[in-house]
């Protein structure tokens, strides 16, 4: 305890070992995940993101949506995610492999959005949801706030692109 070098070496190991074991090794384990078919010859999932959805994610991030919305479905037995209709299967790491920025979130002041694209049938309903009963009307123009701005259009496209309802090698859907 009197030797500075011992102290610093100990602290270095205490920080660097977990970094290696937790972060680097999970990069090794998960870093190469990509699009894959659930069965041989099947379609590849997750789909590539449309360009507008990528712009919409930037809007989602810049407004801090992640402070109230998660994007992850927990396995049955942990919470009521599947029972609440947030998804048909638990989220797996591969679902996020195409996303430049992963927004899992850790707070649910609002509903989970991992499968929002599956639930949202009509575009008008998506815009209504984005407005949050008026709190986010600044994204819309016009007297009745009916004209969506570019940001609102991109955000809606992003929200509609969110879906984890396909079969994946790690999480097969029950037929």
């Amino acid at each position: 305890m009197k030797n500075l070098n011992t102290l610093l070496a100990g602290v270095f190991l205490a920080v660097a070992l977990p970094f290696g074991a937790l972060v680097i090794s999970s990069q090794v384990q998960l870093g190469s995940l990509g699009r894959a078919p659930a069965e041989e010859g099947g379609p590849l999932f997750p789909s590539r993101e449309p360009g507008l959805a990528i712009q919409g994610r930037a809007v989602y991030v810049s407004l801090g949506c992640v402070s109230c919305h998660t994007q992850q479905v927990r396995p049955a037995g942990q919470g009521s995610d599947i029972a609440r209709g947030y998804g048909v299967r638990p989220s797996v790491a591969r679902d996020y492999s195409q996303q430049k920025q992963v927004l899992l979130g850790d707070r649910r002041l609002g509903p989970d959005l991992a499968n929002y694209g599956v639930r949202a049938k009509e575009l008008a309903a998506v815009h209504e949801a984005i407005k949050h009963q008026g709190a986010f009307e600044f994204l819309y123009a016009g007297d009745k706030k009916q004209v969506a701005s570019e940001r609102a259009i991109a955000l809606a496209a992003y929200l509609q692109s969110l879906r984890q309802d396909y079969s994946s090698p790690e999480a097969k859907l029950k037929q």
Binding site: M1, K2, L4, L7, L8, G10, V11, F12, A14, V15, A16, L17, P18, A21, L22, V23, S26, Q27, Q29, L30, G31, L33, V61, S62, L63, G64, C65, S67, C68, T70, Q72, R74, P75, Q78, G79, S80, R84, P90, S91, V92, A93, R94, Y96, S97, Q99, Q101, V102, L104, G105, D106, R107, R108, L109, P111, Q133, G134, A135, F136, E137, F138
Partner: protein, 481 residues
Amino acid sequence: MTQENRSGRPQGRPPEGDSRLTRTEAQLRGPFLLFFVSAVIWLLAASVLGVIAALQQGSLAAGPFRGCELLTYGHVAAAQRNLFVYGWGFNAFFALNLWLLSQLGRFELRNGWLATLGGAVWNLALTYGVIQIFAGNQGGFGLLEFPREVGPVLAVAFLLAGFWPIVAFARRPTGHTFASQWFVVGASFAFPLTYLLAQLLVLWQPASGVVQAIAHSWFVSNLLLLWFGASALAAVYYFLPKVLGRTISGYYLAPVGFWTFFLFASWTGPSALIGAPVPLWLQSVGVVAGAMLMVPVIVTAINFHGTLSSESGWSRAWNDTTLRFVSFGAVAFTLFGALNAIFGFRGYNAVVRFTSFASGQEQLLTYAFATMVIFGAAYFVLPRLTGSLWPSAKLVHVHFWAAALGAVATAVALLVGGYENGKQLADASVSLAQVAKAGSAWNMVLTVSAVLLLVGHVAFALNAFGMILKSSAPASAGRHD
């Protein structure tokens, strides 16, 4: 450890200091006051934002700031947390850690301008970062929301402002070391390392997919435990024996506490990802580390509460302003450790996941523990550095009661409210609207306690700034005390 007795003073007791301003203290007065004053200003800003965030969280649609893009909950909450952590927590511990190690190592800060420069750069980068958050240029990971160009600047500023404790430790004249020194050296070294690695993997060279979230969880646990936790523990180890005038009970355990704390803290990150789409082994490592963290928590509990329990220590602590705050913090840390271990386990965690419970735990650590300890330390250090007395005893009382009640009420609202909220969320037959309605009472409590905290901080700021202004009016009056 064996040489400690040769220095002629009992183990577990920091060296006696002169009550007048020493050369050591005269040297660090400038940088200390810069760090401290900016810390308090940021604390006030964060408290105002805290009130706004509490109002927003309660009712998104009917809140007072509906339709205002600048003040959406996403912006305010992120700015509040960043200001509290990087503005208040870092500046205050820059000041306190520097003071502590200078005292313990009889270190004379000759290049104080470097620390001052570091402090100036740190605060400028922080201001820029917060403006960018409000301008909509924020990132998606908690406590890494600043635009990525801010990261390297903060890292350099940290090296200039926060590295002096390590220099002080290296240059200390005696072979003897004290627990406070280990914790401060550890904190000052662990943070820049963590920050650089996290910046790299989350912002500059993003890891693929969910690995970002894993790197982020590792970063947050290190920041909270190894910077806030370790720095505040160092202060408790110093002030308890110093003010009570006795040795730490069971001091021989302190090295065990130190090494186990640093050994396990950095592994606890993934316990924030239970149920997330990350490998199960990773989640289990986090849970186990959280449980193992009980070892240092128990050691510090024996050290702190043991010291306070003998010879009417509690009542003496209650009657001393510094110790009243510090022992409040010591109790909060023990509570934090216990909750952290229990609610890491999967069954309990599944209930409180995605609720305010995690914020409650963070608040216990960063406010009820670390911030209260900083307040206590300020009541000890500032009169020595400025050479004057606290202008108003009444404001000290207002400060303590507002901060203590606010801290308890916030923690209860976030923890108990979060638990209730989680219970309802786990029952799929309860609709989200019903859940929100049931939580509105807790949101009221949160708003009231945010106001209470603001009142306490204003009282503290008035008192502290009054004292600093008074002492700096005649330029050299404070030096001679």
